[in-house]
Subunit: 208 residues, 2 copies
Amino acid sequence: MAGDTAAPSAFELAQRQGDEAIRTTLLDAASRLLATEGPQALALRRIAAEAGCSTTVLYRMFGGKAGLTEALYIEGFERFRRRLAAVPHDPDPRVHLRELGLAYRANALAERNYYGLMFGEPVPGFQPGEKALATALSAYMILEDAVAACAAAGLLIDAPPRHVAASFWAAIHGFVSLELDGHLPDADTVVDTLMRGASSGFFVTPRK
Amino acid sequence: MAGDTAAPSAFELAQRQGDEAIRTTLLDAASRLLATEGPQALALRRIAAEAGCSTTVLYRMFGGKAGLTEALYIEGFERFRRRLAAVPHDPDPRVHLRELGLAYRANALAERNYYGLMFGEPVPGFQPGEKALATALSAYMILEDAVAACAAAGLLIDAPPRHVAASFWAAIHGFVSLELDGHLPDADTVVDTLMRGASSGFFVTPRK
DNA sequence: GGTGTGCGATAACGATGTTACGTAAGGAAA
DNA sequence: TTTCCTTACGTAACATCGTTATCGCACACC
């Protein structure tokens, strides 16, 4: 009959373009499952079925679940870094830092399953490897640079800028974690108090 | 021969004292496994073997893995609350709040597997129920009361004390989370900067 | 054209949470 | 005391998970 050949799966299409296309196709399927159904849906059989292939391909591309999780971890931090890098530079470095904090929160809320993968531990045995931690660091550097800009402008308290950056990161990260866990019912208003506290806590008013 | 009766297991000993003793025995075994080997070791067969019984008892006592996880979650927050409540009350409420923050960190470091269970999500599908969240809230209330004491002493900035308490919690919680994840190599010095920022950010010097 | 190499699907293995089944024990009623 | 019923427990089976072994097939290379 006419309909002898079924529609080619995403995997079959990618297969003609080399391993890199296969890899991104699988990663896309996994990413979609993570975003829409949460980390529970990150089962290898599930991902393979979604892409239209068998789990063997996942082992060839990622070595196993740990490798795939790490790839998603890196992808999450990449998206994170891009979002932070896209925040426009306000002339006032304090304002820029504040807007980075708000973008941090917005990104975490928009892709909470990625955020959980990056900072929670929804995949039982997973520990990020060297490359994964480097990617995380590159995202964090955007925050640290913003704090360094504040320091260069003489706006910072007398403390190592790196410690201030880590403290600021801890504050916004903790806030987001609690919010995602449902511990902060009125998070929208709390974030204002948090930013106010960070402003008056880490900054000094420059003597003109 | 003489050695006909083997040594009675922990479960058999508890069995003679009623269901409550059985429950605490199983919870003790699970708690020990969690503390020493991490959440990976929280397998029902493993816990049952440790206590000397079968998994059926776990289902009768806790209804399944979710119920047992919730019991451990509550136990973790209970320990947390007790530790925070044991912090001596410094006359200066600001000092008391600071020491609560340090106790928060110390407890998290001492029982990091419990902390991961409470704030991470190492058991794939687990969501805390109503009673669990209430227990968590009672621990948090100690922090909120300390902030309220600061407010009563006229030491707080012009913001709702509840928002200040939430912000303070977010900061120390985020710091601990990052430290446990290995993102803060020099955590010991960062905590000083964080506390300094919180002090000058959320407090005002009272006008005598 | 033969040959080998690697890729992918299928199936099996161990471990997990969960459920069904059989059994023994203990108490209540006759 | 005897009988019966309820309850508790252990064993075994089932579905699902990550992982690995096996087999077939297609393509490339000589």
